[in-house]
Symmetry: C2
Subunit: 122 residues, 2 copies
Amino acid sequence: MKPGHLHPTEDCRAVSEVLSRVGDKWTVLVVQYLGTGPMRFSELKRTIGGISQKMLTTTLRGLERDGFVTRTVFPTIPPRVDYELTELGQELLTPVRALGDWARSNIIRIREARERFDETVL
Amino acid sequence: MKPGHLHPTEDCRAVSEVLSRVGDKWTVLVVQYLGTGPMRFSELKRTIGGISQKMLTTTLRGLERDGFVTRTVFPTIPPRVDYELTELGQELLTPVRALGDWARSNIIRIREARERFDETVL
DNA sequence: CGGTATCCACGGCGATACTG
DNA sequence: CAGTATCGCCGTGGATACCG
């Protein structure tokens, strides 16, 4: 972190790519839950609670595309689909949890800062 | 990470709050640059390179509101405004960098996964 | 059950012009 | 120089309905 340049054009693009995945509305939540073990579609939907069917599908497809989860279809009737974290997904969990832990530890400071700011501006 | 419940309604909301800040298009980039020391508005704009004036203002206001940066106005003509990371902002840098490092280390694996996925689906 | 298809509202974001 | 104001595009995400 020394050089005065810190060239964004390559590294930061990579970071942004990952962050736009991680930073979207539902990804972290889904990854968090899958971190406890494989789950089927309806199970995820029910557990998460506020997510629409469309967004859960979209989120899972994105995670699958990036190699974070696997999708296993059981050709039964009614159908059953399991989602599970890959190696890569498990590894992602580490920095995500670190950020999550930090967020939990400092959310109060942030909220206080907001209140102060909003009050000062009004 | 043992309990079978993992209650989202409080903790995960906090995490999402922080992540929606961190996950937006420019925040990480700005924080990254301010991590090297205080910078003035035009300096940030010039260095980052692709950001519009409006978005830089919006991003900085958001960071200021959350207590991550301070805004110092020098009442000169022409005016000059410095932005600097707060304690909180510095601390945020740690987990953000961890995620950034992970992203840089694994971006190749992710891109490969994407190519495989896109090819399989076509 | 686990999707896809369609429609639509909202907000993020950029471009441009103006101001103290 | 460091903003604010306004406009308009477009992607995200929700609601609803239908399908294998």
